[in-house]
Subunit: 470 residues, 2 copies
Amino acid sequence: MSDSLLQALRGIVGDAHVLRPQDQDLSAYEQDWRRRYHGRSLAVVRPASTAEVAAVMRLAHEQGVPVVTQGGNTGLVGGSVPDASGTQILLSLQRMNRLRGVDPANLTLTAEAGMVLQLVQQAAAQAELLFPLSLAAEGSCTLGGVLATNAGGTQVLRYGNARDLCLGLEVVTADGQIWEGLSGLRKDNTGYDLRHLFVGSEGTLGVITAATMKLYPRPRARMTALAACASLQAAVDLLSLAQQHCASALTGFEVMNELSLQLVARHFPHLTQPLSGHAWTVLLELSDAENEAHARAQFEGMLEQALEQGLIDDAAIAENLTQSHAMWHLRESIPLAQAEEGLNIKHDISLPVSRIPEFVTQCDAALAQAFPGARLVNFGHLGDGNLHYNLQAPEGVSAAEFLGTHEHAVNQLVFDHVQTHGGSFSAEHGIGALKRDELAQRKSPVALQLMRAIKQALDPKGLLNPGRML
Amino acid sequence: MSDSLLQALRGIVGDAHVLRPQDQDLSAYEQDWRRRYHGRSLAVVRPASTAEVAAVMRLAHEQGVPVVTQGGNTGLVGGSVPDASGTQILLSLQRMNRLRGVDPANLTLTAEAGMVLQLVQQAAAQAELLFPLSLAAEGSCTLGGVLATNAGGTQVLRYGNARDLCLGLEVVTADGQIWEGLSGLRKDNTGYDLRHLFVGSEGTLGVITAATMKLYPRPRARMTALAACASLQAAVDLLSLAQQHCASALTGFEVMNELSLQLVARHFPHLTQPLSGHAWTVLLELSDAENEAHARAQFEGMLEQALEQGLIDDAAIAENLTQSHAMWHLRESIPLAQAEEGLNIKHDISLPVSRIPEFVTQCDAALAQAFPGARLVNFGHLGDGNLHYNLQAPEGVSAAEFLGTHEHAVNQLVFDHVQTHGGSFSAEHGIGALKRDELAQRKSPVALQLMRAIKQALDPKGLLNPGRML
């Protein structure tokens, strides 16, 4: 790095906030959360304000230096770490973590991109309101990160993805201008929707520095139930029934196949499983605007009807909050049980809900034929059509060897079936570096051409997160 | 028009579907719904399929002929009629009106752009589901039109604008390629969100030929109530209370000032007004997933609490569907009563809900000072922060003369106040030709620059709906 560039960066953000790999260990910034990507930055630059971000971006633009933007660095596709060249500025927004305001009457919150998701949730709770976006990394991921990747999580069924919660953005462009697009408006038809273009663009079109997000009234009661289904089709029918009965009070509808709960039983035997030995178990969550008694009555009425219609074989409604948490804990333990069981091949796919039973039947059969003995750990957000359709090596086979030999072929087989059924090979994790080739191969050529034209228009020098997504 | 172009267009869509202004009266296509814009087309071209649209667009692109796309031609800002030059193809999508399918388990519907909105609603109803987008022009506006303009309507509070209901699009690009982006997926993070770029772009970036839209379970009961508030702040507080109590069952929250209901009484004296003589009247609508008794209990509990807290002075809950319709009819009669009263100046503005009382106080006062005697007919979708903040000439003054003299100054005063309070000068009607200068003047220069870069990237020859929006 030229001394003058270094001096200029220090002049913008202060000496203490330009970190160089020559001087200290920067692996917290340069290595991704899953430890698949190990990069080396030109420097880690930590601005504290939008003006500082803009100054850094102007400098980078003038000098032709690539910039990789990073929030909490919890992404799963290698989208937020620099490559190995040592030529990219790692722009960390963690110091831009201020809450700019909560507007209870407008049901909005405005915060900077570096604010940790859990703190955003807490700020809403302090105003007795709900910020519904919730996911495993919420203790360290940031608002800017969840917007740049359009994160999903457990409440999508009711509240949508990160993009659906966003009303306005403040963005620094590739050449260091500030678009002041923060807005608390539910309706605004004055021009192209730039907000939705930046959301989900993974740092390749601009740097999100702040956002105005929707809040909701807090439900008065939350209640969870488990239901056992003999088939995935029955689970899909149960979803329709539950949506008819409970409308948007239905805030969770997760599905788990038998093997996924068996692995939980094997590796976490202390966890109680209210239902077991069923082909499919559904976890349902109600968020009720009235009270617990009303939520319980809703659940009972609906599950009774499901029993009568033969959609479910058994059900258990949580008696209290502890039991509710225990049910969710079962669901959340599946990835951990998988990890205990050994290396596995993960897929984050989505399909039209109506196509899921047929997809699973066909894809299961094709995998069984091509990879005899391989075990399917199939679970996920059925209500959103989003499955974590994961493959574990056959019992007794070395997982590392199985993956080494078959991972690519397994992926291709699964993604081919996903495509046949109108699905997506990346439902919520994004593209980053990991799925870039997949995107080039599977996205329609016209869509890719439109994306490249937009990239060229907004980042003509190609300096924003190069090599990611496109 | 060159003979060869005419021949080529006829070859694509058939002789009967290339209409020329020399041969017949095309004012149904060439004049906008409000009769403010009278254009002349090169020809009206009526394709029946996506392939035909693509062929027309390829031809137009090759020969450098501008194209104005039109659906039901019910827009309010002159965005869908050709200019007076006689050089623009008017591409009417009314023949592309097929329902491509309903997927009840996935809660989606796919239809072509020319399908009339009311028929889309009916197709959903036939599957015992709800397509919630509803607006005054629904008997003639089309699905493509409501998407190209991101239409709003009466259900936005619960279901969002047209863009929020859209999951996927099929689009023909400026150079006649087909982007097959139809999708029934709730989660799909594979690249930039092209869908949201085309939605609301008013035909300036591509031609929407089909869409996949979200459906919802049909509520089991709908109930309406009126409530009288002494101030707009009380109405805003009532909104918060109603949202806490009823969550997303609250599907309507409309406000009407005293003058707006007085005009209804003057011009439609046969309409019963259950409440009258109050500064502000709120219309609330509940859509209940359970039954009518539950909806009534919800309303009663909430309105009782509002009375106790002094937020409302009086309330009336509809006893039956007829009374519910009568309450909505009052609200819907305001624009008609305004028309009877005489020409007036309309504003379709939005603000953060929390800023509305202060905005109205300040803007009312400024208008009273600048235009003594002018009368404010203020009503709209308070739940969405969207006001129809309209000005009627003073009693006894010629409305035509008042508008002729003051319209521009009134607009500037109102829009200046809107801007000060973080609002939008076009909440749901869009930009078109009518508000293009306003956009150039009031949108941030960075946003305009980004918009122009995108326009240049996707329509480099500038042939799509030229002179509209940008």
